[in-house]
Subunit: 151 residues, 4 copies
Amino acid sequence: MPPPAADPDFEARTRASFARQAAMATLGITLERVAPGEVELALPHRPDLTQQHGFLHAGVVSTALDSACGYAAFTLMPADAAVLTIEFKVNLLAPARGPVLRVLGQVVKAGRTISVVDARAWRRAPGTGEDQLVATMTATVMTVLGRGLAG
Amino acid sequence: MPPPAADPDFEARTRASFARQAAMATLGITLERVAPGEVELALPHRPDLTQQHGFLHAGVVSTALDSACGYAAFTLMPADAAVLTIEFKVNLLAPARGPVLRVLGQVVKAGRTISVVDARAWRRAPGTGEDQLVATMTATVMTVLGRGLAG
Amino acid sequence: MPPPAADPDFEARTRASFARQAAMATLGITLERVAPGEVELALPHRPDLTQQHGFLHAGVVSTALDSACGYAAFTLMPADAAVLTIEFKVNLLAPARGPVLRVLGQVVKAGRTISVVDARAWRRAPGTGEDQLVATMTATVMTVLGRGLAG
Amino acid sequence: MPPPAADPDFEARTRASFARQAAMATLGITLERVAPGEVELALPHRPDLTQQHGFLHAGVVSTALDSACGYAAFTLMPADAAVLTIEFKVNLLAPARGPVLRVLGQVVKAGRTISVVDARAWRRAPGTGEDQLVATMTATVMTVLGRGLAG
Protein backbone atom coordinates (compact mmCIF):
# COMPACT_ATOMS: atom_id res chain seq x y z
CA MET A 1 0.00 0.00 0.00
CA PRO A 2 1.46 3.37 -0.96
CA PRO A 3 1.80 6.04 1.73
CA PRO A 4 -0.98 8.65 1.82
CA ALA A 5 -0.61 11.64 -0.50
CA ALA A 6 1.56 14.35 1.07
CA ASP A 7 -0.44 17.05 -0.68
CA PRO A 8 -4.20 17.17 0.04
CA ASP A 9 -4.73 18.81 -3.35
CA PHE A 10 -3.07 15.91 -5.13
CA GLU A 11 -5.97 15.24 -7.46
CA ALA A 12 -6.38 18.80 -8.72
CA ARG A 13 -2.61 19.15 -9.06
CA THR A 14 -2.37 15.88 -11.00
CA ARG A 15 -5.25 16.75 -13.31
CA ALA A 16 -3.77 20.21 -13.99
CA SER A 17 -0.39 18.78 -14.91
CA PHE A 18 -1.95 16.09 -17.10
CA ALA A 19 -3.89 18.82 -18.91
CA ARG A 20 -0.55 20.51 -19.75
CA GLN A 21 0.74 17.38 -21.52
CA ALA A 22 -0.17 18.40 -25.06
CA ALA A 23 0.69 14.90 -26.29
CA MET A 24 -2.23 13.45 -24.34
CA ALA A 25 -4.84 15.50 -26.21
CA THR A 26 -3.07 14.89 -29.54
CA LEU A 27 -3.13 11.11 -29.00
CA GLY A 28 -6.62 11.07 -27.46
CA ILE A 29 -5.46 9.78 -24.06
CA THR A 30 -7.71 10.79 -21.17
CA LEU A 31 -7.29 10.76 -17.39
CA GLU A 32 -10.12 8.69 -15.95
CA ARG A 33 -9.31 8.31 -12.29
CA VAL A 34 -6.85 9.72 -9.72
CA ALA A 35 -6.18 8.18 -6.30
CA PRO A 36 -3.16 8.26 -3.98
CA GLY A 37 -0.45 6.27 -5.75
CA GLU A 38 -2.71 5.29 -8.62
CA VAL A 39 -4.12 6.74 -11.84
CA GLU A 40 -6.12 5.25 -14.68
CA LEU A 41 -6.08 6.45 -18.28
CA ALA A 42 -8.03 5.51 -21.40
CA LEU A 43 -6.53 5.20 -24.87
CA PRO A 44 -9.07 4.68 -27.67
CA HIS A 45 -7.96 2.97 -30.87
CA ARG A 46 -7.29 5.31 -33.79
CA PRO A 47 -6.26 4.22 -37.30
CA ASP A 48 -3.78 7.10 -37.58
CA LEU A 49 -1.80 5.77 -34.59
CA THR A 50 -1.23 2.24 -35.84
CA GLN A 51 1.77 0.24 -36.92
CA GLN A 52 2.00 -1.75 -40.15
CA HIS A 53 -0.45 -4.49 -39.09
CA GLY A 54 -3.21 -2.16 -37.97
CA PHE A 55 -2.63 -2.40 -34.21
CA LEU A 56 -1.85 0.63 -32.07
CA HIS A 57 1.87 1.37 -32.29
CA ALA A 58 3.78 0.04 -29.24
CA GLY A 59 5.19 3.54 -28.76
CA VAL A 60 1.71 5.02 -28.49
CA VAL A 61 0.77 2.40 -25.90
CA SER A 62 4.02 3.22 -24.11
CA THR A 63 3.13 6.91 -24.10
CA ALA A 64 -0.01 6.12 -22.13
CA LEU A 65 1.85 3.69 -19.85
CA ASP A 66 4.56 6.30 -19.17
CA SER A 67 2.03 8.99 -18.27
CA ALA A 68 0.20 6.52 -16.04
CA CYS A 69 3.43 5.70 -14.19
CA GLY A 70 4.54 9.31 -13.88
CA TYR A 71 1.22 10.60 -12.59
CA ALA A 72 0.71 7.68 -10.20
CA ALA A 73 3.99 8.74 -8.56
CA PHE A 74 3.10 12.43 -8.86
CA THR A 75 0.01 11.98 -6.67
CA LEU A 76 2.30 11.16 -3.73
CA MET A 77 4.78 14.01 -4.25
CA PRO A 78 4.94 17.35 -2.43
CA ALA A 79 2.99 20.23 -3.97
CA ASP A 80 6.09 21.93 -5.41
CA ALA A 81 7.66 18.84 -6.97
CA ALA A 82 8.04 17.88 -10.60
CA VAL A 83 8.21 14.30 -11.83
CA LEU A 84 10.81 13.10 -14.34
CA THR A 85 10.92 9.63 -15.83
CA ILE A 86 14.44 8.18 -15.66
CA GLU A 87 13.79 4.92 -17.46
CA PHE A 88 11.11 2.37 -18.24
CA LYS A 89 10.73 -1.15 -19.56
CA VAL A 90 7.76 -2.37 -21.56
CA ASN A 91 6.58 -5.90 -22.34
CA LEU A 92 4.12 -6.31 -25.20
CA LEU A 93 1.84 -9.27 -24.50
CA ALA A 94 -0.91 -9.07 -27.11
CA PRO A 95 -1.72 -6.95 -30.18
CA ALA A 96 -3.11 -3.54 -29.18
CA ARG A 97 -6.52 -3.91 -30.79
CA GLY A 98 -9.44 -1.62 -30.00
CA PRO A 99 -11.84 -0.36 -29.22
CA VAL A 100 -10.11 1.10 -26.16
CA LEU A 101 -7.21 0.36 -23.85
CA ARG A 102 -7.45 0.99 -20.12
CA VAL A 103 -4.11 1.90 -18.55
CA LEU A 104 -3.55 1.63 -14.80
CA GLY A 105 -0.42 2.98 -13.07
CA GLN A 106 0.30 1.92 -9.48
CA VAL A 107 3.21 2.94 -7.26
CA VAL A 108 5.28 -0.03 -6.10
CA LYS A 109 7.72 1.95 -3.95
CA ALA A 110 7.51 5.67 -3.23
CA GLY A 111 10.91 7.01 -2.29
CA ARG A 112 12.06 10.49 -1.39
CA THR A 113 14.04 10.83 -4.64
CA ILE A 114 13.39 7.65 -6.62
CA SER A 115 10.07 5.88 -7.03
CA VAL A 116 9.20 2.69 -8.87
CA VAL A 117 5.84 2.34 -10.58
CA ASP A 118 4.12 -0.47 -12.49
CA ALA A 119 1.51 0.03 -15.17
CA ARG A 120 -0.57 -2.30 -17.25
CA ALA A 121 -2.71 -1.77 -20.34
CA TRP A 122 -5.58 -4.10 -21.11
CA ARG A 123 -8.65 -4.25 -23.30
CA ARG A 124 -12.12 -5.62 -22.87
CA ALA A 125 -12.45 -8.12 -25.71
CA PRO A 126 -15.75 -7.27 -27.45
CA GLY A 127 -18.45 -9.89 -27.01
CA THR A 128 -16.57 -11.83 -24.36
CA GLY A 129 -16.65 -9.52 -21.36
CA GLU A 130 -13.12 -10.70 -20.63
CA ASP A 131 -10.11 -8.48 -20.06
CA GLN A 132 -6.99 -9.15 -22.10
CA LEU A 133 -3.63 -7.89 -20.87
CA VAL A 134 -1.93 -6.03 -23.72
CA ALA A 135 1.23 -4.50 -22.24
CA THR A 136 3.04 -3.89 -18.96
CA MET A 137 5.57 -1.26 -17.88
CA THR A 138 7.90 -0.81 -14.94
CA ALA A 139 9.16 2.77 -14.65
CA THR A 140 11.69 4.50 -12.43
CA VAL A 141 10.78 8.14 -11.81
CA MET A 142 12.47 10.95 -9.94
CA THR A 143 11.05 13.63 -7.67
CA VAL A 144 12.61 16.93 -8.71
CA LEU A 145 12.46 19.91 -6.36
CA GLY A 146 13.64 23.45 -6.89
CA ARG A 147 14.47 23.36 -10.57
CA GLY A 148 11.57 25.55 -11.59
CA LEU A 149 9.80 22.58 -13.15
CA ALA A 150 6.85 22.42 -10.76
CA GLY A 151 4.08 20.28 -12.16
CA MET B 1 28.97 -6.48 -37.65
CA PRO B 2 25.52 -7.77 -38.57
CA PRO B 3 25.23 -10.49 -41.19
CA PRO B 4 24.40 -9.32 -44.73
CA ALA B 5 20.72 -8.83 -45.52
CA ALA B 6 19.09 -12.13 -46.58
CA ASP B 7 16.77 -10.29 -48.94
CA PRO B 8 18.40 -8.18 -51.69
CA ASP B 9 15.29 -5.98 -51.76
CA PHE B 10 15.62 -5.20 -48.06
CA GLU B 11 15.58 -1.44 -48.53
CA ALA B 12 12.43 -1.27 -50.65
CA ARG B 13 10.72 -3.78 -48.36
CA THR B 14 11.68 -1.77 -45.26
CA ARG B 15 10.56 1.54 -46.75
CA ALA B 16 7.24 0.01 -47.84
CA SER B 17 6.52 -1.36 -44.37
CA PHE B 18 7.51 1.93 -42.71
CA ALA B 19 5.11 3.73 -45.03
CA ARG B 20 2.31 1.51 -43.71
CA GLN B 21 2.94 2.63 -40.09
CA ALA B 22 0.30 5.34 -39.94
CA ALA B 23 1.66 6.50 -36.59
CA MET B 24 4.90 7.62 -38.25
CA ALA B 25 3.13 10.13 -40.51
CA THR B 26 0.87 11.27 -37.68
CA LEU B 27 3.86 11.96 -35.41
CA GLY B 28 6.04 13.39 -38.21
CA ILE B 29 8.70 10.68 -37.97
CA THR B 30 10.58 10.06 -41.22
CA LEU B 31 12.85 7.27 -42.43
CA GLU B 32 16.15 8.84 -43.43
CA ARG B 33 18.46 5.94 -44.12
CA VAL B 34 18.30 2.16 -44.50
CA ALA B 35 21.30 -0.16 -44.43
CA PRO B 36 21.70 -3.85 -43.49
CA GLY B 37 21.07 -4.03 -39.76
CA GLU B 38 20.69 -0.28 -39.39
CA VAL B 39 18.12 2.45 -39.97
CA GLU B 40 18.03 6.13 -39.10
CA LEU B 41 14.89 8.17 -38.45
CA ALA B 42 14.24 11.87 -37.83
CA LEU B 43 11.76 13.19 -35.27
CA PRO B 44 11.18 16.97 -35.44
CA HIS B 45 9.98 18.78 -32.32
CA ARG B 46 6.27 19.62 -32.28
CA PRO B 47 4.46 21.51 -29.52
CA ASP B 48 1.45 19.21 -29.75
CA LEU B 49 3.61 16.19 -28.82
CA THR B 50 5.10 17.56 -25.61
CA GLN B 51 4.79 16.71 -21.94
CA GLN B 52 4.07 19.23 -19.21
CA HIS B 53 7.47 20.98 -19.35
CA GLY B 54 7.48 21.55 -23.10
CA PHE B 55 9.84 18.71 -24.05
CA LEU B 56 8.81 15.92 -26.42
CA HIS B 57 6.92 13.26 -24.45
CA ALA B 58 9.12 10.28 -23.58
CA GLY B 59 6.53 8.04 -25.20
CA VAL B 60 6.82 9.88 -28.50
CA VAL B 61 10.61 9.52 -28.39
CA SER B 62 10.08 5.84 -27.58
CA THR B 63 7.82 5.49 -30.59
CA ALA B 64 10.67 6.58 -32.85
CA LEU B 65 13.18 4.41 -30.96
CA ASP B 66 10.89 1.37 -31.26
CA SER B 67 10.41 1.82 -35.00
CA ALA B 68 14.17 2.28 -35.41
CA CYS B 69 14.82 -0.99 -33.57
CA GLY B 70 12.12 -2.93 -35.37
CA TYR B 71 13.16 -1.83 -38.85
CA ALA B 72 16.88 -2.27 -38.18
CA ALA B 73 16.08 -5.94 -37.46
CA PHE B 74 13.62 -6.10 -40.36
CA THR B 75 16.35 -5.28 -42.90
CA LEU B 76 18.02 -8.61 -42.07
CA MET B 77 14.87 -10.75 -42.18
CA PRO B 78 13.64 -12.97 -45.02
CA ALA B 79 11.31 -11.37 -47.57
CA ASP B 80 8.17 -13.03 -46.16
CA ALA B 81 8.82 -12.24 -42.48
CA ALA B 82 7.06 -9.84 -40.16
CA VAL B 83 8.73 -8.20 -37.19
CA LEU B 84 7.10 -8.02 -33.74
CA THR B 85 8.55 -6.18 -30.76
CA ILE B 86 8.49 -8.38 -27.64
CA GLU B 87 9.85 -5.84 -25.17
CA PHE B 88 12.04 -2.77 -24.87
CA LYS B 89 13.78 -0.68 -22.24
CA VAL B 90 14.36 3.05 -22.52
CA ASN B 91 16.71 5.33 -20.61
CA LEU B 92 16.02 9.06 -20.77
CA LEU B 93 19.28 10.98 -20.51
CA ALA B 94 18.40 14.58 -21.35
CA PRO B 95 15.26 16.61 -22.05
CA ALA B 96 13.98 16.02 -25.59
CA ARG B 97 14.36 19.57 -26.87
CA GLY B 98 14.22 20.47 -30.55
CA PRO B 99 14.65 21.29 -33.22
CA VAL B 100 14.99 17.65 -34.31
CA LEU B 101 16.02 14.29 -32.90
CA ARG B 102 17.99 11.82 -34.96
CA VAL B 103 17.26 8.20 -34.07
CA LEU B 104 19.62 5.39 -35.02
CA GLY B 105 18.74 1.70 -34.64
CA GLN B 106 21.50 -0.92 -34.90
CA VAL B 107 21.22 -4.69 -34.62
CA VAL B 108 23.33 -6.12 -31.80
CA LYS B 109 22.50 -9.79 -32.43
CA ALA B 110 20.43 -11.10 -35.32
CA GLY B 111 18.94 -14.47 -34.43
CA ARG B 112 16.71 -16.78 -36.37
CA THR B 113 13.76 -16.12 -34.05
CA ILE B 114 14.93 -13.49 -31.55
CA SER B 115 17.01 -10.41 -32.33
CA VAL B 116 18.38 -7.74 -30.02
CA VAL B 117 18.65 -4.16 -31.24
CA ASP B 118 19.99 -0.95 -29.70
CA ALA B 119 18.81 2.54 -30.63
CA ARG B 120 19.81 6.00 -29.57
CA ALA B 121 18.20 9.40 -30.04
CA TRP B 122 20.30 12.54 -30.02
CA ARG B 123 20.05 16.17 -30.98
CA ARG B 124 22.45 18.66 -32.45
CA ALA B 125 22.51 21.45 -29.86
CA PRO B 126 21.92 24.67 -31.83
CA GLY B 127 24.91 26.98 -31.99
CA THR B 128 27.31 24.41 -30.57
CA GLY B 129 27.63 21.87 -33.33
CA GLU B 130 27.73 19.24 -30.59
CA ASP B 131 25.55 16.17 -30.37
CA GLN B 132 23.67 15.51 -27.15
CA LEU B 133 22.44 12.01 -26.33
CA VAL B 134 18.77 12.22 -25.36
CA ALA B 135 17.60 8.61 -24.97
CA THR B 136 18.63 5.01 -25.53
CA MET B 137 16.65 1.83 -26.11
CA THR B 138 17.41 -1.87 -26.11
CA ALA B 139 14.67 -3.89 -27.80
CA THR B 140 14.02 -7.60 -28.23
CA VAL B 141 12.19 -8.36 -31.46
CA MET B 142 10.84 -11.53 -33.00
CA THR B 143 10.88 -12.76 -36.58
CA VAL B 144 7.41 -14.06 -37.40
CA LEU B 145 6.87 -16.31 -40.41
CA GLY B 146 3.68 -17.76 -41.80
CA ARG B 147 1.13 -15.86 -39.77
CA GLY B 148 -0.07 -13.74 -42.64
CA LEU B 149 1.57 -10.66 -41.17
CA ALA B 150 4.18 -10.13 -43.89
CA GLY B 151 5.72 -6.70 -43.71
CA MET C 1 -4.78 -16.68 -13.71
CA PRO C 2 -2.26 -18.85 -15.57
CA PRO C 3 -3.54 -21.82 -17.54
CA PRO C 4 -3.30 -25.19 -15.79
CA ALA C 5 0.00 -27.04 -16.09
CA ALA C 6 0.17 -29.06 -19.34
CA ASP C 7 2.26 -31.72 -17.63
CA PRO C 8 0.73 -33.46 -14.57
CA ASP C 9 4.25 -34.17 -13.30
CA PHE C 10 5.14 -30.48 -13.36
CA GLU C 11 6.26 -30.35 -9.74
CA ALA C 12 8.64 -33.32 -9.89
CA ARG C 13 9.99 -32.10 -13.23
CA THR C 14 10.54 -28.58 -11.85
CA ARG C 15 12.23 -29.83 -8.69
CA ALA C 16 14.50 -32.14 -10.70
CA SER C 17 15.61 -29.32 -13.00
CA PHE C 18 16.17 -26.95 -10.08
CA ALA C 19 18.35 -29.61 -8.45
CA ARG C 20 20.54 -29.60 -11.58
CA GLN C 21 21.25 -25.85 -11.23
CA ALA C 22 24.55 -26.15 -9.41
CA ALA C 23 24.55 -22.39 -8.79
CA MET C 24 21.52 -22.74 -6.49
CA ALA C 25 23.33 -25.03 -4.05
CA THR C 26 26.49 -22.93 -4.24
CA LEU C 27 24.58 -19.76 -3.38
CA GLY C 28 22.33 -21.45 -0.81
CA ILE C 29 19.10 -20.81 -2.73
CA THR C 30 16.34 -23.33 -2.03
CA LEU C 31 13.08 -24.18 -3.78
CA GLU C 32 10.32 -23.80 -1.21
CA ARG C 33 7.10 -24.16 -3.16
CA VAL C 34 5.96 -25.17 -6.67
CA ALA C 35 2.51 -24.50 -8.08
CA PRO C 36 1.19 -24.05 -11.64
CA GLY C 37 2.68 -20.78 -12.87
CA GLU C 38 4.30 -19.99 -9.55
CA VAL C 39 7.39 -20.93 -7.52
CA GLU C 40 8.85 -19.59 -4.31
CA LEU C 41 12.53 -19.66 -3.36
CA ALA C 42 14.46 -18.73 -0.22
CA LEU C 43 17.81 -16.93 -0.23
CA PRO C 44 19.49 -16.68 3.19
CA HIS C 45 21.97 -13.88 3.82
CA ARG C 46 25.63 -14.90 3.63
CA PRO C 47 28.60 -12.59 4.30
CA ASP C 48 30.56 -14.13 1.42
CA LEU C 49 27.87 -13.01 -1.08
CA THR C 50 27.77 -9.33 -0.18
CA GLN C 51 28.71 -6.13 -1.93
CA GLN C 52 30.90 -3.43 -0.42
CA HIS C 53 28.32 -2.20 2.14
CA GLY C 54 27.51 -5.62 3.57
CA PHE C 55 24.21 -6.18 1.74
CA LEU C 56 23.65 -9.16 -0.56
CA HIS C 57 25.04 -8.33 -4.02
CA ALA C 58 22.30 -7.28 -6.44
CA GLY C 59 23.55 -9.95 -8.82
CA VAL C 60 23.00 -12.67 -6.23
CA VAL C 61 19.47 -11.42 -5.61
CA SER C 62 18.98 -11.40 -9.39
CA THR C 63 20.16 -14.99 -9.59
CA ALA C 64 17.32 -16.03 -7.29
CA LEU C 65 14.83 -13.78 -9.12
CA ASP C 66 15.87 -15.25 -12.49
CA SER C 67 15.48 -18.84 -11.29
CA ALA C 68 12.10 -17.95 -9.79
CA CYS C 69 10.94 -16.52 -13.12
CA GLY C 70 12.31 -19.35 -15.21
CA TYR C 71 10.83 -22.11 -13.06
CA ALA C 72 7.47 -20.38 -12.68
CA ALA C 73 7.21 -20.51 -16.49
CA PHE C 74 8.67 -24.02 -16.57
CA THR C 75 5.78 -25.41 -14.49
CA LEU C 76 3.41 -24.62 -17.39
CA MET C 77 5.57 -26.05 -20.18
CA PRO C 78 5.26 -29.45 -21.90
CA ALA C 79 7.24 -32.31 -20.37
CA ASP C 80 9.95 -32.25 -23.07
CA ALA C 81 10.55 -28.50 -23.06
CA ALA C 82 13.51 -26.51 -21.82
CA VAL C 83 13.27 -22.93 -20.57
CA LEU C 84 15.71 -20.21 -21.66
CA THR C 85 15.76 -16.69 -20.28
CA ILE C 86 15.90 -14.13 -23.09
CA GLU C 87 16.11 -10.99 -20.96
CA PHE C 88 15.16 -9.54 -17.60
CA LYS C 89 14.92 -6.22 -15.81
CA VAL C 90 15.51 -5.72 -12.12
CA ASN C 91 14.58 -2.83 -9.82
CA LEU C 92 16.35 -2.62 -6.48
CA LEU C 93 14.05 -1.07 -3.89
CA ALA C 94 15.79 -1.58 -0.55
CA PRO C 95 19.12 -2.93 0.70
CA ALA C 96 19.19 -6.74 0.65
CA ARG C 97 19.64 -7.26 4.39
CA GLY C 98 19.10 -10.62 6.08
CA PRO C 99 18.27 -12.85 7.59
CA VAL C 100 16.53 -14.33 4.54
CA LEU C 101 14.89 -13.19 1.32
CA ARG C 102 11.76 -14.86 0.02
CA VAL C 103 11.51 -14.82 -3.77
CA LEU C 104 8.23 -15.39 -5.57
CA GLY C 105 7.96 -15.87 -9.34
CA GLN C 106 4.53 -15.64 -11.03
CA VAL C 107 3.67 -16.03 -14.69
CA VAL C 108 2.02 -12.94 -16.16
CA LYS C 109 1.44 -14.35 -19.64
CA ALA C 110 2.17 -17.90 -20.72
CA GLY C 111 2.69 -18.06 -24.46
CA ARG C 112 3.49 -20.96 -26.76
CA THR C 113 6.99 -19.62 -27.44
CA ILE C 114 7.40 -16.51 -25.29
CA SER C 115 6.26 -16.10 -21.69
CA VAL C 116 6.48 -13.10 -19.38
CA VAL C 117 7.04 -13.61 -15.66
CA ASP C 118 7.25 -11.26 -12.68
CA ALA C 119 9.20 -11.96 -9.50
CA ARG C 120 9.64 -10.12 -6.25
CA ALA C 121 12.08 -10.55 -3.38
CA TRP C 122 11.17 -9.39 0.09
CA ARG C 123 12.31 -9.82 3.65
CA ARG C 124 10.54 -10.05 6.96
CA ALA C 125 12.06 -7.19 8.97
CA PRO C 126 13.11 -8.71 12.32
CA GLY C 127 11.06 -7.54 15.28
CA THR C 128 8.42 -5.86 13.15
CA GLY C 129 6.61 -8.74 11.51
CA GLU C 130 6.40 -6.55 8.43
CA ASP C 131 7.46 -7.51 4.94
CA GLN C 132 9.79 -5.17 3.07
CA LEU C 133 9.99 -5.35 -0.72
CA VAL C 134 13.67 -5.58 -1.72
CA ALA C 135 13.70 -6.13 -5.47
CA THR C 136 11.45 -6.88 -8.45
CA MET C 137 12.10 -8.54 -11.81
CA THR C 138 10.23 -8.85 -15.07
CA ALA C 139 11.65 -11.61 -17.27
CA THR C 140 10.96 -12.79 -20.80
CA VAL C 141 11.56 -16.51 -21.21
CA MET C 142 11.37 -18.87 -24.15
CA THR C 143 10.03 -22.39 -24.44
CA VAL C 144 12.58 -24.46 -26.35
CA LEU C 145 11.59 -27.78 -27.87
CA GLY C 146 13.69 -30.34 -29.66
CA ARG C 147 17.15 -28.96 -29.05
CA GLY C 148 18.16 -31.74 -26.68
CA LEU C 149 18.01 -29.35 -23.75
CA ALA C 150 15.09 -30.98 -21.90
CA GLY C 151 14.84 -29.75 -18.34
CA MET D 1 33.55 10.39 -24.10
CA PRO D 2 33.03 10.44 -20.35
CA PRO D 3 34.27 13.44 -18.39
CA PRO D 4 37.65 13.03 -16.69
CA ALA D 5 37.62 11.44 -13.24
CA ALA D 6 36.91 14.02 -10.51
CA ASP D 7 39.14 12.14 -8.10
CA PRO D 8 42.80 11.62 -9.13
CA ASP D 9 42.92 8.53 -6.92
CA PHE D 10 40.00 6.97 -8.76
CA GLU D 11 41.84 3.76 -9.58
CA ALA D 12 43.02 2.98 -6.03
CA ARG D 13 39.61 3.92 -4.66
CA THR D 14 37.84 1.68 -7.19
CA ARG D 15 40.15 -1.26 -6.55
CA ALA D 16 39.73 -0.90 -2.78
CA SER D 17 35.93 -0.90 -3.02
CA PHE D 18 35.94 -3.86 -5.41
CA ALA D 19 38.10 -5.76 -2.92
CA ARG D 20 35.38 -5.22 -0.29
CA GLN D 21 32.75 -6.93 -2.46
CA ALA D 22 32.99 -10.37 -0.88
CA ALA D 23 30.77 -11.79 -3.64
CA MET D 24 33.48 -11.11 -6.23
CA ALA D 25 36.02 -13.39 -4.52
CA THR D 26 33.36 -16.02 -3.85
CA LEU D 27 32.35 -16.11 -7.52
CA GLY D 28 35.93 -15.80 -8.83
CA ILE D 29 35.32 -12.45 -10.56
CA THR D 30 38.44 -10.30 -10.88
CA LEU D 31 39.03 -6.64 -11.72
CA GLU D 32 41.33 -6.52 -14.72
CA ARG D 33 41.43 -2.88 -15.75
CA VAL D 34 40.28 0.51 -14.42
CA ALA D 35 40.08 3.69 -16.51
CA PRO D 36 37.95 6.84 -16.21
CA GLY D 37 34.39 5.75 -16.95
CA GLU D 38 35.40 2.19 -17.76
CA VAL D 39 36.31 -1.04 -16.00
CA GLU D 40 36.91 -4.57 -17.22
CA LEU D 41 36.34 -7.75 -15.22
CA ALA D 42 37.02 -11.43 -15.86
CA LEU D 43 34.65 -14.25 -14.94
CA PRO D 44 36.07 -17.77 -15.39
CA HIS D 45 33.68 -20.67 -15.95
CA ARG D 46 33.05 -22.81 -12.88
CA PRO D 47 30.87 -25.94 -12.78
CA ASP D 48 29.46 -24.97 -9.39
CA LEU D 49 28.00 -21.74 -10.83
CA THR D 50 26.04 -23.27 -13.69
CA GLN D 51 22.38 -23.62 -14.53
CA GLN D 52 20.71 -26.87 -15.55
CA HIS D 53 22.34 -27.08 -19.00
CA GLY D 54 25.91 -26.57 -17.80
CA PHE D 55 26.25 -22.90 -18.79
CA LEU D 56 27.05 -20.17 -16.27
CA HIS D 57 23.82 -19.09 -14.56
CA ALA D 58 22.46 -15.84 -16.04
CA GLY D 59 22.40 -14.40 -12.53
CA VAL D 60 26.12 -15.02 -12.10
CA VAL D 61 26.83 -13.31 -15.42
CA SER D 62 24.58 -10.46 -14.24
CA THR D 63 26.57 -10.19 -11.03
CA ALA D 64 29.70 -9.45 -13.04
CA LEU D 65 27.82 -7.10 -15.39
CA ASP D 66 26.36 -5.19 -12.42
CA SER D 67 29.74 -4.76 -10.75
CA ALA D 68 31.21 -3.63 -14.08
CA CYS D 69 28.49 -0.99 -14.44
CA GLY D 70 28.70 0.21 -10.87
CA TYR D 71 32.47 0.55 -10.82
CA ALA D 72 32.63 2.18 -14.26
CA ALA D 73 30.40 4.92 -12.82
CA PHE D 74 32.30 4.91 -9.52
CA THR D 75 35.55 5.90 -11.27
CA LEU D 76 33.97 9.27 -12.15
CA MET D 77 32.47 10.01 -8.72
CA PRO D 78 33.86 12.26 -5.99
CA ALA D 79 36.16 10.65 -3.42
CA ASP D 80 33.50 10.54 -0.70
CA ALA D 81 30.68 9.11 -2.81
CA ALA D 82 29.09 5.69 -2.73
CA VAL D 83 27.47 4.05 -5.75
CA LEU D 84 24.08 2.34 -5.60
CA THR D 85 22.47 0.45 -8.45
CA ILE D 86 18.85 1.52 -8.95
CA GLU D 87 17.94 -0.88 -11.73
CA PHE D 88 19.37 -2.83 -14.63
CA LYS D 89 18.25 -4.74 -17.69
CA VAL D 90 20.05 -7.74 -19.12
CA ASN D 91 19.81 -9.39 -22.54
CA LEU D 92 21.19 -12.90 -22.88
CA LEU D 93 22.51 -13.44 -26.40
CA ALA D 94 24.41 -16.73 -26.30
CA PRO D 95 25.02 -19.53 -23.79
CA ALA D 96 27.63 -18.52 -21.20
CA ARG D 97 30.20 -21.16 -22.03
CA GLY D 98 33.81 -21.02 -20.82
CA PRO D 99 36.59 -20.85 -20.45
CA VAL D 100 36.28 -17.22 -19.38
CA LEU D 101 33.99 -14.24 -19.89
CA ARG D 102 35.38 -10.73 -20.24
CA VAL D 103 33.03 -8.06 -18.93
CA LEU D 104 33.40 -4.42 -19.92
CA GLY D 105 31.44 -1.59 -18.28
CA GLN D 106 31.36 1.84 -19.94
CA VAL D 107 29.60 4.99 -18.77
CA VAL D 108 27.06 6.29 -21.28
CA LYS D 109 26.03 9.38 -19.32
CA ALA D 110 27.60 10.55 -16.07
CA GLY D 111 25.16 12.74 -14.16
CA ARG D 112 25.45 14.46 -10.82
CA THR D 113 22.91 12.10 -9.22
CA ILE D 114 21.96 9.55 -11.88
CA SER D 115 24.35 7.84 -14.30
CA VAL D 116 23.64 5.36 -17.07
CA VAL D 117 26.16 2.63 -17.85
CA ASP D 118 26.34 -0.12 -20.46
CA ALA D 119 28.19 -3.40 -20.02
CA ARG D 120 28.80 -6.36 -22.24
CA ALA D 121 30.12 -9.86 -21.56
CA TRP D 122 31.81 -11.86 -24.28
CA ARG D 123 34.00 -14.89 -24.70
CA ARG D 124 36.83 -15.81 -26.98
CA ALA D 125 35.60 -18.94 -28.72
CA PRO D 126 38.45 -21.48 -28.36
CA GLY D 127 40.20 -22.35 -31.61
CA THR D 128 38.58 -19.56 -33.57
CA GLY D 129 40.14 -16.43 -32.17
CA GLU D 130 36.72 -14.81 -32.52
CA ASP D 131 34.82 -12.98 -29.82
CA GLN D 132 31.23 -13.98 -29.14
CA LEU D 133 28.88 -11.57 -27.39
CA VAL D 134 27.17 -13.43 -24.52
CA ALA D 135 25.16 -10.78 -22.63
CA THR D 136 24.55 -7.04 -22.38
CA MET D 137 23.36 -4.82 -19.53
CA THR D 138 22.15 -1.26 -19.22
CA ALA D 139 22.21 -0.05 -15.60
CA THR D 140 21.02 3.10 -13.86
CA VAL D 141 23.17 3.95 -10.86
CA MET D 142 23.01 6.66 -8.24
CA THR D 143 25.73 8.74 -6.64
CA VAL D 144 25.10 8.79 -2.90
CA LEU D 145 26.79 11.40 -0.72
CA GLY D 146 26.71 11.82 3.02
CA ARG D 147 24.99 8.60 4.05
CA GLY D 148 28.08 7.09 5.59
CA LEU D 149 28.34 4.60 2.76
CA ALA D 150 31.61 5.87 1.25
CA GLY D 151 33.12 3.36 -1.12
